[in-house]
């Protein structure tokens, strides 16, 4: 793969599945006005924040590990085109078949093609956000292939016909009572119980049978190691290991950015990932997949495939600043610490990836036409950037995306849909603002008028006065008070 060029074919818009920007405010309002959900998200995020904090008692160790994480990710992104070639070479040598997909449609076609070749009827899936990104379950269903989520959270979300509301905790928006009801109504022969251990046992029994009969196991990838041709998979439930060893065929799917050159790059990133995500020193399982089953081995799939997906990543890659988006290792800490995510939860965003990382990665996947307003849903408080284990400057990227969205469309844009949120009136207002605040004389006049005619300020001020008293300039400005000093 050559280094992406923003003017090549990856910039041509493909079909938009949905417009997350549309209805965002209404969806957010629904959650904000639901005291139960508000409290439940707050409690869950507080829990995750305290778990992470407990993992990093030494701020110096944390900061030096974050520095290392950032350096590793930037080093590998800088070499991405050649590392992808090296990865393909080494995977192929190990007997793993490599496929390239530019769009979700291509990725689905590749995966379903493999399924059809094996006359597959059932695919069991380990947790994979990229498979959510391409909406694989829908595509499989349309092709008559069963796709069953085997991560407990994903299984719950699938039973409820929903999308994950968090990239690490897919069912964080559900109570145990709601889950009990889902199991009772959807799993044959299950009595209602809200005992969490009992619910987990029910899920395990259902899944155990499916692992035995599944034709295909699908998984994501946390790190793909170029020098060894190894796929690393982090998980806690053992379902990832089942999906990648029990069925006769294993298909892994990942974004092209999840690559590291050396095996030695993995431990620091793994440590940052599990400690930032779930506050675990190490996950319960860490799988390293280097080949299909070899002669004499007792388990493992006969065939292993890797699908490498672009889906807008090369657009982010082509711009020095936007490239930092791709440093992400998908820990979800930015969500857990985000005051906006905490208020509205994941579904309100309308994108596969919610929260701060969702706001900066989704525009590359879906185009700014569909996501122009998402970057405005941030107070730029910086909590996300403060905890990001690989130091992605998320607030800075949000400001950049606002610029790409709202300034007038121009030639050779860095992003698909540049200027999609452009509004002539808004732009004129900002030009007027700059004219006033860029001129001492005009500012003096306008601010004087503001204080002189302060009583003319409207009682209703757009969104401000929905929960606040109106703003009114002081009777005298600071510059007036200074002049009046004795």
């Amino acid at each position: 793969m050559s280094a992406p060029n923003p003017t090549d074919s990856n910039m041509t818009p493909h079909a938009l599945h949905f417009m997350p920007s549309v209805g965002f405010r209404a969806r957010a309002k629904d959650v904000v006005e639901n005291p139960f959900l508000r409290q439940s998200f707050r409690g869950a995020m507080d829990f995750l924040m305290s778990k992470r904090a407990a993992q990093f008692p030494d701020p110096e160790e944390l900061e030096s590990l974050r520095d290392l994480g950032e350096r590793i990710r930037q080093y590998n992104l800088a070499k991405l085109p050649e590392l992808l070639v090296q990865l393909e070479t080494n995977l192929t040598r190990n007997g793993i078949q490599v496929h390239w997909a530019e769009t979700p449609e291509e990725a689905n076609a590749i995966i379903l093609g493999i399924c059809q070749k094996h006359a597959a009827q059932l695919m069991v899936k380990g947790k994979s956000m990229v498979s959510e990104e391409i909406e694989l379950n829908h595509a499989a269903e349309a092709a008559g292939i069963g796709a069953l989520e085997s991560d407990m959270g994903e299984y719950i979300v699938q039973l409820a016909h929903e999308k994950p509301s968090h990239i690490i905790m897919p069912a964080i928006h559900k109570t145990k009572e709601q889950i009990a009801k889902l199991f009772h109504e959807n799993v044959p022969g299950v009595e209602y119980t809200d005992n969490v251990d009992a619910l987990i046992q029910i899920g395990r029994q259902v899944l155990r049978e499916k692992f035995e009969i599944a034709d295909i196991g699908l998984s994501g990838v946390n790190f793909a190691v170029a020098e060894t041709g190894t796929l690393c998979l982090v998980e806690n439930e053992g379902n990832g290991r089942m999906c990648t060893t029990a069925p006769p065929v294993h298909i892994a799917i990942t974004g092209i950015e999840k690559i590291v050159e050396k095996l030695e790059h993995v431990p620091p990133l793994l440590s940052l990932l599990t400690r930032s995500a779930t506050g675990q020193n190490i996950s319960t399982y860490f799988n390293m997949i280097s080949s299909p089953r070899k002669p004499g081995e007792k388990d493992g799939p006969g065939e292993v495939h890797l699908v490498l997906l672009d889906n807008g990543r090369s657009q982010a890659y082509a711009d020095e600043q936007l490239r930092k988006t791709l440093q992400c290792i998908r820990c979800g800490a930015c969500m857990n610490h985000c005051p906006v995510y905490t208020r509205i939860g994941g579904h309100a965003y309308g994108t596969t990836y919610p929260g701060p990382i969702g706001k900066i990665i989704s525009p590359h996947m879906l185009g700014l036409e569909a996501t122009a307003n998402m970057a405005t849903a941030s107070s730029l408080c910086g909590a996300c950037g403060e905890v990001c284990p690989v130091r992605i400057p998320i607030p800075e990227l949000l400001v950049r995306l606002r610029e790409e969205s709202f300034t007038a469309p121009h030639a050779n844009p860095a992003m698909r849909g540049q200027g999609a949120g452009y509004n002539a009136l808004t732009s004129a207002i900002w030009r007027g603002w700059a004219a006033v605040y860029g001129s001492p004389a005009l500012y003096r006049t306008v601010s004087w008028l503001g204080s002189r005619f302060r009583w003319l300020m409207p009682r209703k001020q757009a969104g401000w006065t929905s929960v606040r008293t109106p703003l009114q300039p002081a009777p005298k400005r600071l510059r007036d008070l200074i002049k009046e000093r004795p």
């Binding site: 408080c381 006033v436 605040y437 601010s447 969104g463 600071l478």
Partner: protein
């Protein structure tokens, strides 16, 4: 280059547009506080705004136009003291990148960047100011802006100043480091989310039982006090349930012997 070890004789005061137009009293009190430490305070008349509203809304050209004006206002090598972590953060951290493609202004911005101080930072780190408390017992709660905390890294200096006041107890609010929901145009573009954030913030501040909230950022105060007053109106209260003021005003009153409360 300004040196931290030398006690400055003169400083520039960059008031910010919010203080100039909405909180002039806080600006006067900050100036008086600095003067009491034996410093000559210079207020460049031509100052307007740091440019942050346009910058953070995605209009960098407009921000540059306004920032370029401010760059010309501080010719002497004196510290520039700003009674806001947010505006200080804009000048210190974003001016140099804003002018990345304009070598002359970039150099000026980088030079200015080393001289910009948030007020409480300046009082503590440069002046080593230790306020002497002349007031009576009281409990306050301190709200620190996100920019002061995460961009300027000066969230401890305001706390230190309040801690030096013998008779002031500083209450600890729940979720202290969480944003109040202001975020400039965010509060107008996403009123539902911003409203939920300020609602939770005001609840947490009130739950401490503190008599008042103090902050070194007027943007946050506008948001927090605006919501508290709205809630008072809604619930028919005639006296404010959460009064508040800029930390400069509070410090000046506590240290002024003639009008000690």
């Amino acid at each position: 280059m300004h040196s931290r070890s030398a006690y400055p004789t003169d400083v520039y005061f960059f008031a910010t547009c919010v203080v100039d137009q909405f909180f002039p009293g806080a600006g006067m009190d900050a100036i008086t506080l600095l003067e009491r430490q034996g410093i000559r305070v210079h207020f460049p008349e031509e100052q307007t705004c740091c440019g942050q509203p346009a910058y953070s809304s995605g209009f960098p050209d407009e921000a540059r136009k306004v920032a370029a004006l401010q760059l010309t206002l501080f010719p002497n090598d004196w510290p520039v003291v700003v009674p806001s972590g947010s505006c200080a953060g804009m000048m210190k951290h974003h001016y140099p990148t804003l002018f990345a493609n304009d070598p002359a202004r970039k150099a000026a911005a980088e030079k200015l960047s080393t001289r910009v101080y948030e007020l409480t930072q300046f009082l503590v780190e440069v002046l080593n100011f230790k306020p002497e408390d002349c007031g009576s017992d009281c409990t306050v709660v301190l709200h620190t802006s996100c920019s002061a905390r995460r961009e300027m890294g000066v969230h401890l200096t305001g706390r230190k100043l309040l801690g030096d006041l013998d008779k002031v107890r500083v209450a600890q609010q729940d979720h202290e480091s969480e944003c109040c929901g202001f975020g400039g145009t965010f509060s107008v573009k996403q009123p539902e989310i911003s409203g939920a954030m300020v609602e939770d913030k005001v609840k947490a501040l009130k739950a401490t039982g503190a008599e008042r909230v103090v902050s070194a950022d007027c943007g946050c105060l506008m948001n927090i006090l605006g919501h508290a007053a709205w809630k008072d109106q809604q619930e028919g209260r005639t006296t404010p349930s959460l009064p508040g003021e800029h930390i400069a005003t509070f410090l000046l009153r506590r240290t002024a012997k003639e009008n000690a409360q």
